[in-house]
Amino acid sequence: MLEKEILEHGLSFNRRRFLSTMSLGLGSVALGSLLVPSLLNGGDQDGADFTPGIPHFAPKAKRVIYLFQNGAPSQLETFDYKPKLCDMMGLDLPASVRGSQRLTGMTANQATFPLAPSFTNFKQYGQSGAWISDIMPYTSKIVDDICIIRSMYTEAINHDPALTFFQTGSQQGNRPSMGSWLSYGLGNENKNLPDFTVLLSRGIGNGQGVYSKLWSNGFLDSIHQGVQFSKGEDPVLYLRDPEGMDRKERREMLDHLAELNDLSYQEFGDPEISAKVKQYEMAYRMQTAVPEVMDLSKESDDIIKLYGPDCLVPGTFAANCLLARKLSENGVRFVQLYHQGWDQHGNLPFEIQSQAKDTDQASAALITDLKQRGLLDETLVIWGGEFGRTCYSQGKLTIDNYGRDHHPRCFSIWMAGGGIKPGMVYGETDELGYNVQKNPVHVHDFQATVLNQLGLDHEKLVYKHMGRRFRLTDVSGKVVRDIIS
């Protein structure tokens, strides 16, 4: 009986009917898809939609200054106020809070994890009422210009992978650095200076290495590589003409060399050859542009007082902040600073105060200085390290001394200018400062947001290399819209 019905149904259901029914179904899906534009469009896979040097959409920021605090500053002594730790000082971190978090070899064998409150006090500042610790007196004066993100988290637990992850979007290295991606995506602003420059400094705190792989161009064209400006008489190595050669001779030499390189390009077609010619030309122009930018002797007294007297001592963080402003003002797309010494496994109260003293005034000064030149609106400034630090003490906890181990689950950074909401505190951690409780921001989310502020869609800024399409944010990342003004 049933079989017959099925058969009849099959017989009556002919192709024409099937198609007409289908067309109704398809039609309604098509109608619905009008409301979800990304549904049927798998995204721009090849980046065919993208011309290097032209943003996807109107940018809020034109340049970035990244004040990287290498070694991972403790969020608990800077921006993430946790009074609860004072009540629970010395008590063991509850296992339920720690969950399955893996530990470093440095504390994995510790019998207890005694909760360690901050040795320094916090107060609220500005209209936003953000809590800032007493070791950052200058930063507390600019809270209404910055956006503090207290809910950053990352995947790596050791310095090198974490740092590499922040800078290149991958823990393994060999990928282009954020600055290189921006150079690739946005192109030159000032053709007399590199798009991407790097400045290093270190405090007295426990230092962790920074290596040139962090500003590598990876698989992108080598003109996008970061150029390190060092202290001392030759900020850019080998830029000076050798003794006995004047500028005219240099010019002639370069012209002849370009002819030879052109011949070799005709023969081999290697794009690195033309990249090299471009670099020679850039270096020639840099010969006049760099000394002008690096000259700090004309800075006014107000500027010296703003950044602090160390700004005239080459190689200090303050001097690098001042240089960063000058480079940025002159159209360098990405100025990357690294300040080493934030790795306070022990002796934290003493070391972190010294680190803060090195960086606090100059970081705040940079914001004020950009603002008074009308440049803060178009310059994105970022301050932060590669991960956070544990809420419990590494080693012995005493009333005035302790240490903190690496902690990837939560940490604080701040961003300012470049279309980021000023005077905002975003995200929350739990009352022990161990887990993110509200509005988590992953490193890829952060990277997506930075690209977004520069007018780049992180999903469209792709580069095909060895058969795979690569992005700074790999396969994830979401722009943090809440912090964009």
Partner: protein, 723 residues
Amino acid sequence: MNSKLRGILEQILLASFFFVGFLLVFEGDLQIPLFLQPIGRLHTLLLHFPIVLLLLAMFMEFFRFHDSFHKNNTYLQFTQWLILAGALSSGLTVIMGIFLAKEPGYGGGDLNWHRWLGVATYIFASLLYWIRSKEWYQSTMAKITSISMSLLLILVGHFGGNLTHGGNFVLEPLMKSQAVPLEEAVVFQNLVQPILEKKCVACHNPDKIKGELLLTDAKSIAKGGKTGPLFVAGKPELSLLIQRAHLSIDDKKHMPPIGKPQLSDDELQLLSWWVKEKASFTKKVVDLASDDSLRILSTKLLASASGPQLEEYDFQEADEKTIQKLSNEYRTIMLFAKDSPALSVNFFNKAQYKAPKLEKLKEIKEQIVTLSLAKMPVQNADLAFVKVFEHLHTLNLNFTDVTEVGLKELAGMKELMVLSLSGTKLKAAGLTSALKAIPNLKKAYVWDAGLSREDISYLQKQLRGIQVVGGFQDDGSNPLKLNPPQVKNPSTIFDEYIVAQLGHPIKGVEIRYTTDGSIPDSAKSPVFAGNLRLNQNTSIRARAFKPGWIGSDEASFDFYRGHFRPDSSVLLTPLNRVHQAAGAKTFFDGRLGSFNANSPAWANNWAGVRNNDLVLVSMFKQAIPLSSVELRIMVETQTGIFPPELVEVWGASVENQWKLLSKFKPVIPKENFPHTLPLIGTKFKASTVKYIKIVVKPLEKIPGWHPAKDKRALFLVDEMFFN
């Protein structure tokens, strides 16, 4: 079976009539017990059933007498069932609604309309159920009843919707408020009130006064509600309005309640800043200081409410070739974005700039929206060319030669919003009128432009609606401490004598120093004049002073005399694996180590031993009269770096005929000894030698007070001096 069920349901329907009637009559005295309140709240869920059932039934009823259905019994019966279910469910909904209305916060005109129309629907549906089978009930009748029933349903729904979502919920997106010019905007009226209307008034209006709080007008807002006044002016942290919004979303007292549209961060920020600014109902946005956060946020919110952003342009794209032709190494022309016709132009390199370069840009005059001429020798006269860029919104003239006189050229540039004039020479008087003449200017940067603090506050007062940024000007009230002086000599190790070179990065600093170990002061210690000649080991202590600054911490510089440098040296014993430094050369390479020996040790000039003696043999081609040997070492007891147990100095004038010249035992530090880099050594009667052997025995047992007691200590040395 069917008829039995129907019978029961009809009975219930009839019963419900009485129940509802009773409730309505005695509504004023109703007391809803706690356990029934959840049932009342189910009203909002259940009300969808009668609406759907009855609308469907009315649709069918409308066509009931149509030829195809007229005789169809199933059709008739089905409709009958639908109407029955609809009537029953509407009865239940009415009962629940009556319960819900008893909760605090409901009242007013909308509620009355909703209630009576709801009851009417219920009665109408029930009546229809019974009369539709009568003889006289024919086609026209069916059509009239079905249409009027449907209208009734829509009306009830409408008033109910108003109660939950607030009036105008549906049309709200279309009724964008008229943009308010910044100059006229009042913080309360144009910013605070719209937020309340959007997120709060749905429950706090005269119809539904939840918590006895009305948020519809200034007077009621100032009055507050059941729990007390809404805010303490100037103290957002004590204000109910802000506290409630900050509670955890799960908290029963959190406002707006869970499930309702929440306040955005900006909105919450604005409310709390408004309270902080004394919750004034009349203050205008432009009355706030230009760098006031509330003003900045208000300006932003007003701007975003006033329609399209500056990113949309309606002019033509410039020709790509023209752009290429006009770009060069010193003039960058960039497309704003992929699908935008807007261009931004930056000039670099002062030496390459000539005024006619601006004139050349007239081919793209329409497209230029941002222009940076910072640090170019731009003159007042050149600004006439700038004026032709009609769509310019950001102009950077920092550190140019323009003055307020030239800025008059910019008068009437309608789209210019941001003007940077930092580092120019301006006069406040003329500047005011020049900036006033730019109709839509929003920000002016005038740092370091020859304007005093008073000038800037005068400007800000005159230029309402423009944010005037004066930047940082040191007023001397907060003097900074100088950084210590620095030594400029490439090496502080010398052969016979050295002229010490001390310096300071800041101009006009006075360096005062001592060489006797006392602390230098600003009055008595000698001023460093560049002619300090040293011929023996000297420790200079120096401080920097300058009027308007706090004197620096002291810095000390050790100068070491090492008269005899061996021609060659060889180590007879191995160094520690991580403290190799430069091997035997380490000790005479003129390079001094510093603290932080462990990061990274091999690059920090420290040679070290722990498990064996250090034995160094140095050779001279010519015999020398040796009378003293000194070693610069590190003492960092905390990390187990100690002075050695014993040092022996051997000399020989003929190979391998060693003679002990001197030996000494350095003092082993006590607990809490500071980290130092001291010189240890010995003086003895001059002896003529060609070979010197230094034997250093590291400390074998770390003292008992140390955590690593009885272990071998590390010995580190970076330089040796033979005199």
